[in-house]
Amino acid sequence: MATAAVGTKKLTLVQAVTDGLRTMMRESENVIVLGEDVGRNGGVFRATDGLMEEFGDQRIIDTPLAESGIIGTSIGLAMNGFRPVAEMQFLGFIYPAFNQIMTHASRIRSRTLGAFTVPMVIRAPFGAGVRAPEIHSDSVEALFTHMPGIKVVVPSNPYDAKGLLIASIEDPDPVLFLEPMRCYRSSKMDVPDSKYTVEIGKGRVMKEGEQVTILTYGAMVDASLKAANEAESKGISVEVIDLRTLYPLDKELISKSVQKTGRTVIVHEAPSTGGLGDTLISLINDTSFLYMKAPIERVTGFDTPVPMFALEDHYLPNAPRITSAIHKVINF
């Protein structure tokens, strides 16, 4: 078969999500979307805009307002031949579904030694910085990287969003697909019209550098690149890695980079204690301890609930905090 024409479109991250959903729904009748306001409204962020018109309300399903219901029924649908893509309106509202994800979605395969599986995707916008009301800004990815049996991915740009979403829908196991709200419309990028995947478990070097490695993901990629470029202008060469998948981590890419630079700064907006930073430090300890020239620095959200938006700029890691960490590992 001839390869598809290599047309591209300039899309935002949220449009790339829609495009990924559309691509997979055209390919397979088994891909269905469930969520609150995903149908007629096209999602509160318009992530499913136009899909009900194309695929009908039997495949783009406005559910009752019940997250446990959405995830619980998606588990049944997935075990019985469908590929549900369930939307949580915000990650901060996933908690009523936590039981279903923790006790069922993530462990049905192991409970049945593979006889039953749950090939479903849970999509959720997340993160602070958009002046959203309370609870809407939570970054609780670590609750799920800690949960055995579910993969966690976070695109930071439109190209990765479409490719990772398609890979997630094709994945035989549950995947939590986290969409940084701050990146939804922050930039446009050429996104291929055709189907392509970005492999789950693979990070990407966003900027090469020699002296410091920044490990980050999601909305913090931009902040990290800013700080890296600023450091560059002061003669410090910084490599920035977008992890893209938080579970399983790209061990090879991470260890290669930190062994090259010997200095690491981890940046995430989720709270520090028990955050992904801790897991990254373990990984570096296991793979690269003797290469390290300085203790690893973490620039993260604090061990506090995300404050209401009048204070959220203080909560979020910003360029000065990242810069200060870069100087600390350089001057150690």
Binding site: R40, P64, L65, P96, D303, A310, L311, H314
Partner: protein, 353 residues
């Protein structure tokens, strides 16, 4: 079910009292108070939408159209009772004694917005849908255990009835005979999802049957119906008669929030028509005119006074000192554990403090 749970009315759309049993209870001062509180809520709400448009506050949640439901019910509560609102119920909380300034601060992204004035028992607005039904049940349970006759009222929408917490709240209240009023505002939509797609049941009141508690359906734009039926439910609760589920059928004229575009999912003409035909304030005005207790000079003066009161609160909100960033660190626990203390210090250091 619609016949078993008829939409109760005292004041019809034309401002005529249709339930004679209440005629003698409608004294002028009560009527004027209800009108005053509804007008205050409406003017506040319009101010909220404007402030958001001008970028002076963040996303705002309007409730215009739901004033009778919120004011009638909150007026039925007394000092010492508890109120558990959602993000859309500042009409109720302001009537129950919340401060205009703090409610405005809430929409300005300030934690102070969650704090009611001293002695007024209003929980912070529940953002996770339906979670508050259980808190209201618990707080009322505490009153019962302490041997008081105080009760809780909890607000929630039609969409909220789909969450597990709604059912758990009703069941606990039923099992333990808790003095709580579950006050549902069925405004026809949960964001874009119409109530007919939210549930197959024809009424929300009928959901009470499953828990063997009383369910009442009423015209939520009829402030008399809301006030008297809620009052009866609270009195029953105080006397040990247990919980009641009230469904107040109403409509929000505007968007779900200022970030929402209702034209995506409904014809906004419907709102204009309802404003003409079923508006809670217009209906009360008609009644007052027919009763001869309406003077346009009174109304004008009232509107002026309220406008001044709101403007003063907006000023206070805008002149409030910016929040201290330590507010974020210093209230997570009674005492900061070392990780928070370390983080606070490190951040101060980066800021050159």
């Amino acid at each position: 079910m619609e016949t078993q749970f008829p939409k109760k009315q005292i004041l019809n759309e034309d401002g005529v009292v249709v339930d004679d049993a209440y005629k003698s209870l409608l004294d002028e001062s009560l009527v004027k108070t209800l009108y005053t509180k509804m007008l205050r809520a409406r003017l506040f709400d319009r101010k909220g939408v404007n402030l958001q448009r001008q970028g002076r506050i963040g996303t705002y949640v309007p409730f215009e159209g739901q004033e009778a439901a919120q004011i009638g019910s909150s007026m039925a509560m007394e000092e010492g009772d508890w109120m558990f609102p959602t993000y859309r119920d500042h009409g109720a909380t302001l009537t129950f004694g919340h401060s205009l300034k703090n409610v405005l601060l809430y929409w300005k992204g300030r934690q102070e917005g969650c704090i009611p004035p001293e002695g007024i028992k209003i929980f912070p607005p529940a953002v996770p849908i339906a979670s508050q039904l259980l808190h209201a049940t618990g707080a009322a349970w505490a009153e019962k255990m302490k041997g008081t006759d105080r009760a809780s009222i909890v607000y929630f929408g039609d969409g909220a009835t789909s969450e597990g917490d709604f059912h758990e709240g009703l069941n606990f209240a039923s099992v333990f005979n808790i003095p709580v009023v579950f006050f549902n505002q069925n405004n026809g939509f949960a964001i874009s999802v119409p109530v007919e797609k939210q549930m197959k049941s024809k009424t929300i009141a009928q959901k009470a049957v499953g828990y063997d508690i009383e369910g009442i359906r009423l015209d939520g734009n009829d402030v008399f119906a809301v006030y008297f039926h809620t009052k009866a439910a609270v009195e029953k609760a105080r006397a040990g008669g247990g919980p009641t589920l009230i469904e107040a059928v109403t409509w929000r004229y505007g968007a779900h929030t200022t970030a929402d575009d209702p034209s995506k999912y409904r014809d906004q003409n419907e709102s204009s028509i309802r404003r003409e035909t079923t508006d809670p304030l217009a209906r009360l005005e008609k009644f007052m005119q027919q009763e001869g207790i309406w003077e346009s000079s009174w109304q004008k003066e009232l509107e002026q006074d309220i406008t001044l009161e709101i403007e003063a609160a907006v000023n206070e909100m805008e002149n409030e000192q910016p929040p201290h960033l330590n507010d974020m660190f210093d209230h997570v626990f009674a005492e900061n554990p070392w990780p928070i203390e370390d983080q606070k210090e490190a951040y101060a250091h980066v800021r050159g403090e």
